[in-house]
């Protein structure tokens, strides 16, 4: 096998067991979740409602899970903070589980390779 194909195979193997950067994944997930809830709330506030009718009564029910959240610009900021925390934790758990599964698998492969290299003769 020449060097180029050896390098390519090394890249494929690295990709197969590559770990996710947990902190980066959690940050990205937090940013995406925060942005989504913020945009959604601001869009509903911007759209408004006829006089006497509450703005976004269904979205406002999120306050049951996120105390302090409301369909207003201030509420959007509070919601973004909550969504960021929830998204960050979910991202952290997902990335950690991914890394743990791959570490476990790689460990099993290493142990099996070591065992098969021993001769019982």
């Amino acid at each position: 096998m020449n060097t180029t194909s050896e390098q390519r195979r090394r890249i494929i193997l690295a990709w197969a067991f590559a770990r996710i950067d947990v902190r980066a994944f959690a940050t990205a997930n937090a940013a995406a979740c925060a942005l989504m809830l913020f945009s959604l709330t601001v869009a509903i506030v911007w759209k408004g409602a006829p006089p006497g009718i509450p703005v976004g009564p269904h979205l406002a029910q999120l306050a049951a899970y996120f105390p302090g959240y409301s369909v207003s610009v201030i509420g959007a900021l509070a919601g973004a903070a909550y969504a960021g925390v929830v998204g960050g934790v979910c991202g952290l758990v997902l990335a950690a589980l991914w890394n743990a599964a791959h570490s476990l698998l790689l460990g099993v492969i290493r142990v099996r390779a070591n065992l098969s290299s021993y001769s019982i003769d």
Binding site: A18, L97, L105
Partner: protein, 211 residues
Amino acid sequence: MNAPAEGEAATDAQLVSATVRLNTWIFGAILGLMTGLLLCALAMVAGLASGRYMGLAVTLIGVFVPGYGPGWEGALAGLFWGFVGGGLLGAGAYRITTRRAMTRIDELVAFERGDGDFPEAVLRLHGLSLGLAIGAMGALGLIGTTNWLVIRGTAAHSVHARLLSEILPGYSVDLPGSIVGAAELFVVLYLVCQLFAFVYNRVAGARQRRA
């Protein structure tokens, strides 16, 4: 291309294919577990809390998840169906994301310094593939759930589904409306995934340079 080179390319393709199969199972299992636990937790909280709003959210999810509702039994149903649904969603998204992995595999890993026997690397995300995968899954999900309501014959009474038109203009609880809504949802999810991949790659890159 000569015969040995063709043979090596075929081996590489097999290796990539095996990697995709393995990681599809792992990602599906992880997302399934997380979805199941999330649905379980929501049902438990709704069962414990007396507020009707929490129950409403869980009941609405129960339209699509058989047996799901506030309380212990509903939580167990949510755990099971969440694992199945989340698992299929995760597996599907991973499959679509890695469809052309072979052609851009160099962009998907960043090697780490290390003198171990195995090449250690950090995964990099391809925003376009991720956006297409998540966008497609979301869009298909919206078409599926909307038309499930149509098939059930409850589309006319689905006031909560109709609320989606507030954020997806043109959406309605019927086939044409679901296609319009799905197209819009695809664009939204695609953009969010682009942002997600951009932030992840930037933060991961910066952390790797510092290390």
